[in-house]
């Protein structure tokens, strides 16, 4: 147990910091969900990251990474959030599909997709959920009918973040006639392909942050299947582990939010009851606890361990923490907290409100927290499935 960075790790932090200081855009970029322009501004940022070889630091160099360990990944993330750098428009690709492809992809697929993913040349969306298959993902009905060396895709996908402007999607389909966990395959398809229709869905504040995808006889080469035919469920579960567990939510984002909350508290301290200090301390403690747990988890992975159902404990913890953090900030802002960021007197409120709105989705996406609690109960604690 040595909770101290090595000189090399400190030097790495300095290197990231210097690059971020010199390259992070001043001020926020326009939303990547509302306009093509905002989306492309975020793609440009991904390209700039890639020029500095920062696209995905843990990936092998041949795929555009630096081949670094997970402790350095944590350090990179810490500096990324410290610098207030833009949200990764390609997070579905780099954090979810990328690691899955590393594990299940053919060499040809890795060489073809991963460098473009790291560079932001292909931005990815996830196409798993369907109107009739949410928490019960094995209920997907969209099909992939084999036709020689192609699949013909049909069906409807929903809740696909970034899908309105993204280039590619990775979708879960089933062989016609198959049921439940059998006969499923994970298939990559271009969102510009003939037969694909995308329709944006408005979030509760009216922002168009996700989309429905309709597939009508979409032909894709069989070589764009990730993992074995009929093994889609297994591949998806590996992706879900990344999604809930580690990559999608590094602790830095919550620690930096806690830091901003402390600053907000200090600015308003004279108007606030003494109990607010404890509330702020609580948020800081939870953000720190998440960071410490991930340092422990990354140390274990580096020593050859694996992540199992712990990824579900992570997902519950960060999603609840995110709401707490933003709710605490809104409570400090008091009656002004209801202002939208566009209101003339909103000041710095907008960011907190927007973060709060986004945090409300946390307990739902990447597998609802109720499903995560079932997973913990059954796979960690050993309670009976039925």
């Amino acid at each position: 147990m040595k909770l101290e960075y090595t000189e090399d790790q400190r030097a790495f932090r300095r290197e990231v910091r210097e690059w971020m200081d010199a390259n992070v855009p001043q001020g926020p970029l326009p939303s990547f969900d509302l306009t093509r322009e905002g989306f492309e501004a975020h793609r440009d940022w991904e390209r700039k990251l890639n020029e500095g070889c920062w696209g995905m630091v843990t990936w092998p160099e041949e795929y555009g990474g630096r081949g670094l360990d997970l402790i350095r990944w944590l350090i990179f993330e810490e500096e990324y959030y410290r610098a207030n750098a833009p949200t990764r428009v390609n997070q579905n690709g780099i954090f979810l599909l990328g690691p899955t492809m590393m594990e299940f992809g053919t060499d040809e697929q890795k060489a073809r997709f991963l460098p473009r993913m790291a560079a932001g040349d292909d931005i990815w969306a996830q196409a798993w959920s369907e109107p009739g298959a949410g928490s019960d993902l094995a209920g997907v009905r969209s099909t992939c009918a084999r036709d020689g060396d192609h699949y013909v895709l049909n069906g409807q996908k929903i809740w696909s973040s970034r899908a309105v402007f993204a280039d590619w999607a990775f979708g879960l389909f089933r062989e016609p006639g198959s049921e439940r966990h059998q006969g499923m395959s994970l298939i990559l398809f271009p969102l510009e392909a003939e037969g694909v229709t995308r329709r944006p869905i408005a979030r509760l504040d009216g922002e168009l942050v996700f989309a429905e995808i309709f597939l009508d006889n979409v032909r894709v080469p069989a070589s764009d299947r990730l993992g074995g035919e009929g093994e889609g469920w297994k591949v998806c579960m590996a992706t879900a582990g990344f999604e809930r567990g580690l990559m999608l939510r590094s602790p830095a984002r919550y620690q930096e939010a806690a830091k901003k909350l402390i600053a907000l508290y200090e600015r308003h301290r004279n108007e606030l009851p003494a109990s607010t200090a404890e509330r702020v301390a609580r948020c800081w403690m939870d953000a720190e606890a998440y960071a410490l747990a991930l340092y422990a988890m990354c140390s274990r992975l580096e020593a050859g361990g694996t992540i199992g159902p712990e990824s579900s404990t992570n997902k519950i913890f960060w999603s609840e923490l995110d709401i707490e953090l933003h709710q605490a900030a809104l409570d400090i802002l008091g009656p002004r907290a209801e202002l939208m960021g566009t209101a003339p007197d909103a000041g710095d409120i907008g960011g907190w409100l927007d973060g709060y709105i986004f945090s409300l989705a946390g307990p739902i996406y990447a597998g609802s927290n109720e499903i995560q609690r079932n997973i913990i109960a059954e796979r960690m604690l050993g309670l009976p499935r039925k």
Binding site: M1, A277, A281, A293, Y295, R300, N374, L383, P384
Partner: protein, 342 residues
């Protein structure tokens, strides 16, 4: 950066844990209660012979020369079995303090040999295990006095946890009993080890709830198959999963003795206490009416958790330390570890 225990630490922890789990089952606790025993002599001799009492004493004094980071996993195991003997208080609190004294009057060697020195720190109004102690470390206006057992009068204060033998200590200080001007890091060490024990207590409560929920049938199937019961257990387990690394980090950073390091101990004590409290109440709930009885063993663990939550600084006191830290030291993603802060 290595957030993991060494092979040696894991080995000694596992050996101690196995011994404690083998020898200290709830049936053993009940026998001790019936016999009015304060400690189980066979187990206490094993603990001493394994070198656990002197783990944190220097090798020159006959100890193992280890630190609290080496003891923290054993403290968790002691919580897991609700150990009645004061191993953790002795090895992790009394021994480090005796080690720091200019003149320990022979008591360091005697504690390593298994004699008990009770600790009457000002954080706690009553002294635990004073009746089985050969000597007591007592507070007089911030000074530490080392007093032989026969120089004090004890008044038993019955507590909720029958194995926490609490006493009011009546005694008269004099120059000859004074051994130090202050308590040094005693409260920090004790708070940290209380937190570690609470992690173990919480885990035991969940494990008992899970075992019962698999076994108990209602509406024709095990109650553990119902989501309502699963979610109770999972929620408590999540609390434990995110308290344990805080306790471990606090142990690793304790020696730094800076405000960030002290705040991590406070943080650990708060969240471990909450995790143990939720786990204990969850366990009672899952056991239903049986959970509220003397017959089911959950109460042993609930009572210890209840006691340790308030001992060595209350949650309200510890949160003040955290508030001081966040208001006066830098926070953020690059400020997680005390070693990064001046």
């Amino acid at each position: 950066m290595q957030f993991a225990f060494t092979e040696e630490q894991l080995a000694i922890t596992e050996a101690a844990r196995e011994m404690l789990v083998d020898t200290c089952q709830p049936t053993d606790l009940r026998k001790m209660l019936e016999g009015g025993q304060a400690l189980d002599e066979a187990r206490w001799n094993t603990i001493r012979d394994m070198g656990l009492t002197g783990m944190c004493a220097p090798e020159s004094a006959g100890g193992l020369g280890l630190g609290l980071i080496d003891l923290v996993g054993i403290a968790e195991a002691a919580g897991y079995v609700a150990l009645p003997e004061p191993l953790i208080e002795l090895a992790g609190v009394a021994v480090p303090l005796l080690t720091e004294l200019e003149d320990n009057r022979g008591w360091l060697a005697r504690t390593i040999g298994g004699e008990v020195v009770a600790v009457g720190h000002p954080a706690n109004p009553f002294v635990a295990d004073a009746d089985i102690a050969g000597a007591l470390l007592l507070d007089h206006g911030g000074e530490v006095h080392l007093v032989e057992r026969d120089a004090v009068e004890l008044v038993r204060e019955e507590g909720f946890d029958p194995f926490r033998r609490l006493f009011r200590v009546d005694w008269t200080p004099d120059e000859a009993t004074k051994v130090a001007d202050g308590w040094s890091r005693t409260a920090d060490r004790a708070a940290l080890l209380a937190a570690a024990q609470m992690i173990g207590l919480g885990q035991r409560c969940i494990d008992m709830a899970v075992a019962y929920a698999k076994d108990r049938n209602q509406f024709g199937k095990p109650i553990g198959s119902y989501q309502a019961v699963k979610h109770l257990c999972s929620t408590a387990q999540v609390k434990i999963e995110f308290a344990r690394p805080v306790v471990q980090a606090a142990a690793a950073e304790l020696e730094m003795d800076s405000l960030p390091a002290r705040a991590r101990i406070a943080h650990a004590k708060i969240v471990a206490g909450e995790a143990a409290d939720l786990a204990a109440r969850t366990s009672v709930q899952v056991h239903g009416a049986m959970g509220f009885t003397w017959e089911v063993d959950v109460h042993f663990f609930l009572k210890r958790a209840h006691a340790l939550r308030q001992a060595w600084g209350t949650p309200a006191e510890h949160v003040q330390t955290v508030i001081e830290r966040i208001r006066t030291e830098p926070s953020g993603a690059d400020c997680t570890f005390a070693s990064e802060l001046g």
